[in-house]
């Protein structure tokens, strides 16, 4: 490839923030038609690099160029005009408006002062066709799933005919099956000659989507390598800066104890006669594709949803379905899939976010005891290695992994011994993921029951003692101990009826 193919580059780029060097003498280039994965822990410098290339930040020294033009002094609009389009993690769509309206948000085609609806629809159809996606442009965006919304977001960026498309964790809120769609779209876009920078924490999808990967650590580029030849362990080691440990070598220890929580014949919208046993002292994985009823299983078990029929027993006793408060009192705890929407109270401190699950435990005769709050929070912050400046720091300012650990800490504070974790590692960097796995293991060793729902089969296969595979709202298979193999779990989850 010749140098004229280079769409965007950074030469000896350095960027400092107060107290931290975000980029340190970085050289980076992407070419036409290339999909480049950008890998690294949170805080490694990925976001800064992206911001520099999109004109949102400027280098302290060195230079950034797009199509040979230096970005120094240019704003995001100027850089967009040079052909850089960025799709950020947070969606920026108006759910009540149609796909077509969203695609041209703020720049709706007009004729003689009025909206030209016909042209807008035609252009919208063309934009969707360009990325090879079949979505009804007249349906409201809110009616699409997360994947559909993400695709609309990408279509909008591609509609600007960019030369460089930057995708910042486009799949962090998607289930594995939906990721496929996004990957196909990204490949289509790249084939049209667009350079793509793709940030993600998911190794499996990076293998499918990217040609090359650049690993960033502590503001430096560790290496740029072809993804097909590098092993996952190698890459993870580069990201962490440590030698890879053989995670798989750990012995699995399915528990022989009687189930603490069990369900028989649960039926609801998404559940179709589900049986499940949760035992103390082990990590039970729940695998299954999107729509197989993973989240619904947890919600029914913890009493958030009331199944139409079926029986739930806690420590051998039948419980009234749908009695959420009672289930929490009796030792259940759930961390929700959508951390931001259902997990954290962003403006409150980490300490209060933790003790909120049991305020009585930190009260004396009805009055909150500040010292007790501080002690309880600090103990859990240390135990789970939650990185926060102070216990009182608003949790909304923490990274996803640390937020997740705090939400988990909540149930440790409440003393729950049945922990239902819905996608606890989604949108979490590799280091925090590993810490969360370790915590699950410690909790299981401690005699608690841990239920781990994930759409990433790899991590289930790595971490769990037993795995229940769901399909169509039923438990179709159960693997325990050495029966757990990645391919087997995967095959069971996606098998046809």
């Amino acid at each position: 490839m010749s140098n004229t193919d280079v769409v965007a580059e950074v030469r000896a780029g350095t960027k400092r923030y107060p107290g931290v060097t975000a980029l340190s003498d970085v050289d980076f280039a992407v070419r036409r038609g290339e999909v480049r994965a950008l890998l690294g822990k949170n805080g490694a410098g990925k976001s800064t690099l992206i911001k520099v290339l999109s004109g949102a930040e400027h280098l302290d020294s060195g230079e950034a160029l797009v199509r040979g033009k230096p970005l120094a002094g240019l704003g995001t609009r100027d850089v967009a005009a040079l052909g850089v389009a960025t799709v950020y993690q947070e969606l920026s769509l108006v759910p009540e408006m149609t796909v077509a309206e969203n695609l041209f948000l703020g720049a709706w085609p007009r004729s003689r002062g009025a909206l030209d609806l016909r042209r807008m629809r035609a252009d919208a159809k063309e934009a969707m066709a360009r990325i090879g996606v079949d979505i009804d442009v007249d349906s409201p965006v809110g009616a699409l799933g997360s994947a559909g919304q993400q695709l609309v977001e990408i279509a909008r960026a591609v509609g600007q005919r960019p030369t460089l498309l930057i995708l910042d964790e486009p799949t962090s809120s998607l289930a594995a099956a939906e990721v496929r769609q996004v990957i196909d779209v990204v490949r289509t876009v790249a084939e049209q000659g667009v350079a793509v920078i793709y940030v993600s924490h998911r190794m499996d999808e990076i293998r499918q989507v990217a040609d090359t990967a650049t690993v960033v650590r502590d503001g430096r580029i560790v290496e740029t390598l072809p993804v097909r030849t590098a092993s996952t362990h190698e890459i993870v080691a580069m990201m962490l800066g440590t030698a890879p440990e053989a995670v798989a070598a750990r012995a699995r220890r399915p528990s022989a104890e009687p189930p603490v929580l069990s369900a028989r014949g649960l039926v609801s919208d998404r559940l179709n006669g589900l049986d499940i046993d949760v035992r103390p002292g082990e990590i039970l994985g729940i695998a299954g594709v999107l729509g197989s009823g993973r989240t619904e299983t947890l919600r029914a078990l913890v009493g958030l949803d009331r199944p139409a029929s079926g029986e739930i027993r806690l420590r051998g006793e039948a419980v009234r379905p749908g009695a959420f408060a009672a289930m929490l009192r009796r030792g259940l705890g759930m961390t929700p899939e959508n951390r931001r929407r259902e997990g954290i109270v962003p403006l409150m401190g980490v300490d209060e976010n933790i003790v909120i699950s049991d305020l009585r435990g930190v009260s004396r005769s009805g009055v909150l005891d500040r010292r007790a709050i501080r002690q309880a929070a600090r103990a859990l912050i240390d135990r789970l290695a939650i990185k926060t400046a102070r216990p009182g720091t608003p949790i909304g300012t923490l990274s996803g992994g640390n937020q997740q650990k705090a939400v988990l800490a909540r149930w440790l504070h409440a003393g729950s011994d049945v922990l239902l974790l819905d996608e606890p590692t989604r949108g979490v960097d590799v280091e925090a993921k590993r810490q969360i796995y370790d915590q699950m293991r410690l909790l299981a060793d401690d005699g608690r029951a841990v239920v781990f729902v994930s759409s990433e089969v790899e991590e289930l296969a790595d971490v769990c003692d037993r795995i229940v595979v769901l399909r169509g709202g039923r438990a179709v298979a159960e693997l325990s101990g050495d029966e757990i193999e990645l391919n087997r779990v995967m095959a069971l989850a996606i098998a046809e009826e």
């Binding site: 931290v20 958030l304 909150l368 500040r370 709050i373 400046a389 102070r390 909540r410």
Partner: protein, 337 residues
């Protein structure tokens, strides 16, 4: 770039009151309000005849109680992301109820007071129930109360004041204790109670959690519906208290009284830095907001500004104060990120 290397246990100098994003903004806002109130005092003592007199200062305290008594409860309602606009009619209705109960229905005074408080509490709880159980927006639920209670109060009295027979308790409520107007004392006691409830009880912190993220609060085991019912029951109760004080002051139950009071109360809370979006706010801010609004009202009267035009001035000042607050938090937010 938020990640730092883990270096042992977190810094020990922690604020156990729970960090709130924009606490600095809140501080700034409070300092700004204190500054504004000081400036008002200086300007008014120079320009408004009799402003600094003891009589007038006590009158300011008495006026402040009209807003303040309900404003404490309103602060928590707004922190929880809700709103209660039924205050003015609820106050008027409570005063009418007291006059009718003692005068026409011959209920003993002390019992009539309890009835008024109970009715206020139940009406508020009803609005809260509509919000909590059926998801009716609190603006609409309390708009219904706003209209119905005003109508009921006027209907019961044919739009005329209903005189109250004088008695000892009424005199105390209307008068002073140790030289301080009784309503101001009620306001002060309630302030301390609410300060305590907001910061030091599970209920108070749950209100902040519900306002910050109701779904997260629910999943953490907080009974969100219960919190919402209690919130509106509290504003209902305090509106009734306010109505009793009003009746004592006027010596009658008056169905047409307290027009627009709800907006003074909401304005005081918002000027005090409590976010209408929920999740953050402070009672100290509301206290300053109440002082700010009351002093302006008092000054405008003393300066002899036309009564109609007073509303114009107040409107401009209220929006201006909130605008400054918003600009402050924007600047602060930009610096933080």
């Amino acid at each position: 770039m938020s990640t730092t290397t883990p270096t042992g246990p977190p810094v020990a100098k922690a604020d156990a009151r729970g960090g709130r994003l924009g606490r600095n903004t809140q501080r700034l806002n409070e300092i700004g309000l204190i500054g504004a109130i000081v400036v008002l005092f200086v300007v008014l003592s120079a320009t408004a005849p009799g402003f600094l007199s003891v009589t007038n200062q006590l009158a300011i305290l008495r006026d402040a109680a009209t807003i303040g008594v309900v404003a404490w409860a309103m602060t928590l309602v707004i922190v929880a992301g809700e709103i209660d606009i039924s205050i003015g009619p609820a106050v008027a209705f409570s005063s009418v109820l007291l006059a009718k109960a003692t005068g026409e229905w011959h209920i003993p005074f002390a019992l009539a007071v309890l009835v008024c408080l109970a009715v206020g509490l139940l009406l508020g709880a009803g609005a809260g129930y509509l919000r909590a159980r059926w998801g009716i927006p609190s603006f609409v639920a309390t708009l219904g109360l706003w209209s119905a209670l005003r109508g009921l109060a006027q209907y019961m009295t044919d739009g005329l004041p209903v005189p109250l027979e004088a008695n000892g308790l009424l005199d105390v409520l209307a008068g002073s204790i140790l030289g301080i107007p009784t309503p101001a004392i009620v306001m002060a006691v309630l302030f301390v109670v609410f300060l305590f409830v907001a910061n030091r009880t599970a209920y108070g912190r749950s209100v902040f959690a519900v306002g910050g993220n109701a779904e997260a609060a629910r999943l953490a085991g907080i009974n969100v519906s219960r919190i919402r019912v209690i919130l509106f029951a509290t504003t209902g109760l305090l509106a009734a208290v306010s109505g009793l004080l009003l009746a004592a002051r006027l010596g009658s139950g008056n169905g047409g009284a307290s027009v627009g009071l709800e907006f003074d109360v909401i304005a005081a809370v918002v000027i005090g830095g409590t976010s209408l979006a929920g999740g953050k706010g402070s009672l100290l801010g509301t206290l300053l907001g109440v002082a700010f609004i009351t002093v302006i009202g008092n000054g405008l009267v003393l300066l002899g500004v036309n009564a109609f035009f007073q509303d114009v001035v107040r409107g401009v000042i209220i929006v201006g104060a909130v605008l400054i607050n918003v600009l402050l938090s924007k600047r602060n937010g930009a610096r933080a990120s």
